[in-house]
Symmetry: C2
Subunit: 104 residues, 2 copies
Amino acid sequence: MESLWKAMADDSRREILLLLGKKKMTPSELAGHFQFTPPALSSHLRILRNADLITEQRLGKNRYYSLDERKSLEMIDFFEKMWGYKMNSLKEFIENKERKKKHE
Amino acid sequence: MESLWKAMADDSRREILLLLGKKKMTPSELAGHFQFTPPALSSHLRILRNADLITEQRLGKNRYYSLDERKSLEMIDFFEKMWGYKMNSLKEFIENKERKKKHE
DNA sequence: TAAACAATTAAATAATTGTTTAATTGTTAT
DNA sequence: ATAACAATTAAACAATTATTTAATTGTTTA
């Protein structure tokens, strides 16, 4: 497992992404939203991390995971090829948002 | 298998989508681009069809498959939730293109 | 330093998904 | 009707992915 698309294919992983989109969380905190055993959750987080969909930040005992925004561009690129659209406006939108974040 | 995201997760299926985006094709025609046995290809086409990513049109002995554009909206919706963006401009873009096609 | 905690990795098992071979359905042409 | 073709479905098998239990790593606190 390593592909972006395979990482997105799992229902629970997409839910994790939605949760991490709201705020960064530790695995323990995430666990409250699912039925997972800790290793199962850990495995999903590793898959999301390998796909660069989330980033990890270690702080003492805890690890904080948060959404890594860069990857959506790659999927948008696929839609662009698929439909032949030029989705530049969307790409610029996302890229601008990223640039803003960096300067916060 | 039935989910949109699982249908998208397979590399070959995404390639099929790119090919069908260019023009409608029969399975025999598609087969030229892959190593699949006919049943394997048929299985992928069924998965894409169940996910409403492609449509089937029977014509005599042949079946023509083509890209069904409606589904991309559902994935865009997910990105919208995930990033909290309002992607209305993109949605309108796609919806307009659809409306145009209908009147061709 | 020892105990407790957060989270992971490893190894085994369970579940899902993909591919093959064989048999079937429906269509055209002779 | 029957032969040939396009594509599918069914059933068995192969491969991949997910989940569990057990063991491990690193961090804090008593």
